[in-house]
C-alpha cells in the first residue's frame, strides 16, 4: 500500500477522531468504499481527471447528500476533488485497518447474501477469534453472488463457507 494511501488514511482517522464520530465515519466510508469497488463506472467517473473537480464533487454530493454524515461527505469530496477518487477504496481499507489496529484488533471482512443479526455478528467474531487467536472487528458486506453462507477474509486469509464456493467445487468435480 503506497505512502499516499496511508497518508490519506491517517488524515481521515485524525479528522474523524477530532470530530468525535470515528466509528460512524469509518462505517460510512467503508460502505462508500464497497460501493466504489462494486461500481466500475462510478469509480471511473470519480477518477477521471478530464471531468472538472467541481463536477466530480457534485456527483459525491448527489450520491451521499443526506445519507452520510457531513464529515464523511466532506472527506470523500476532498479525495475526489484532489483527483484521487480511484484510490478511495484503498484509502478506506487502510483507514479501517488503522482504526482496528488502534484498538488492537484485526478487520474481518464478511461477505453474506443476507444481513447478519447482531447476535450472529457477535458469535461470528468470537468464532473467528477462537479460530485465529485474533480479536477482530466484523465488517459485513452484502454480496448476493455469495448465494448463501459466509465468506470471511482476515488479512490475506480467506475462509469460504459460501454456497457459491460449494457450487464451484461441484463444477470442478464434474467438469
Amino acid at each position: 500500500m503506497s505512502d499516499l494511501v496511508q497518508s490519506y488514511a491517517g488524515a481521515f482517522h485524525a479528522i474523524a477522531a477530532a470530530e468525535g464520530n470515528l466509528a460512524v465515519v469509518e462505517e460510512e466510508l467503508f460502505r462508500v468504499g464497497q460501493a466504489l469497488e462494486a461500481n466500475d463506472e462510478l469509480r471511473s467517473t470519480l477518477g477521471d481527471l478530464s471531468i472538472p473537480a467541481a463536477r466530480r464533487q457534485q456527483v459525491i454530493e448527489d450520491v451521499l447528500g443526506g445519507k452520510a454524515s457531513a464529515t464523511t461527505t466532506g472527506l470523500v469530496s476532498l479525495v475526489v476533488g484532489a483527483g484521487r477518487g480511484a484510490d478511495l477504496p484503498a484509502i478506506v481499507r487502510a483507514l479501517v485497518d488503522r482504526s482496528a489496529a488502534s484498538r488492537n484488533r484485526a478487520v474481518a471482512e464478511v461477505r453474506s447474501a443476507v444481513p447478519l443479526s447482531a447476535d450472529q455478528t457477535t458469535r461470528l467474531a468470537a468464532a473467528i477469534t477462537a479460530a485465529t487467536g485474533k480479536d477482530v472487528e466484523i465488517k459485513v458486506v452484502i454480496d448476493p453472488s455469495v448465494l448463501g453462507g459466509l465468506v470471511t477474509q482476515i488479512g490475506d486469509t480467506v475462509i469460504d463457507g459460501s454456497v457459491r464456493h460449494r457450487l464451484n467445487q461441484v463444477r470442478e468435480a464434474i467438469a
Binding site: 453474506s112 447478519l116 459466509l150
Partner: protein, 201 residues
Amino acid sequence: MSATTIHVLFAQTASGASGQTTAGTTTEATAKSHNSFYGDKNELYWGTAAFLILFALFIWKGVPLVKKAAAKRIQRITDEIAVAEKGKADAERELTTLKASLGNASVDAEAIIADARTRADVVKADLTARAAADVDASTQRARIEIEASKHQAFADLQAEVAAMTLTATHAVVQENLTGDVQSDLIEQFITQLGAQKVGTA
C-alpha cells in the same frame, strides 16, 4: 570408191554411148567433144584429182579428228560409266551400312525397352511402397483424429452436462435458499469456524 573404179565407170559409160552410133558422125563427134554430162576430160581428171586430194585430206585430217572425237566421246562415256559405277558402289555400301545400322538399332531398341521395363518395375515398386506408406500414415492420422474427436465430443458432452447440471443445481439451490436456510447456513459456518484452528498472516 577408188579413183580407178570411177575411171572404169566413166569408160563403160563412154563405150555404151559409142555403141549407139546410129545418129551420125557429126553428132557423135559433137557428143565426144561436148558431152555435157562428162564434161571435158581435163575437168574430169582435175575434178577427180581434186576429189582424191580432198578425200586424202579427209582421210589424213578428218578421220583422225573423227576418231579423236569418237575416242573423246568413248572416254567421256567410259568416265560417266565409271562415275556411275562408283556411285552404284557407294550406294550399295551405304545400303549395307544402313542395313547394319538397322540391325544395330533393333538391338538397341530391344535393350532400351528392356531397360525401360526394368526401370518401370522399380518405379512401380517404389510407388506401390509409397502408396502403402501413405495409406498407413493416413489411416493412423484418421485413427488419431477420430480418437481426438471422440474425446473432444465426450468432453463437450461432459461440459454440456456439467453446465446443465450446475444450472439446474443453481436454480434448485436458489429456490431453496429461504430465510431459514440462509440463517442455518450462517449458523453452520459459525459453528464449524469456532471448532477449527485457522492460521492467519
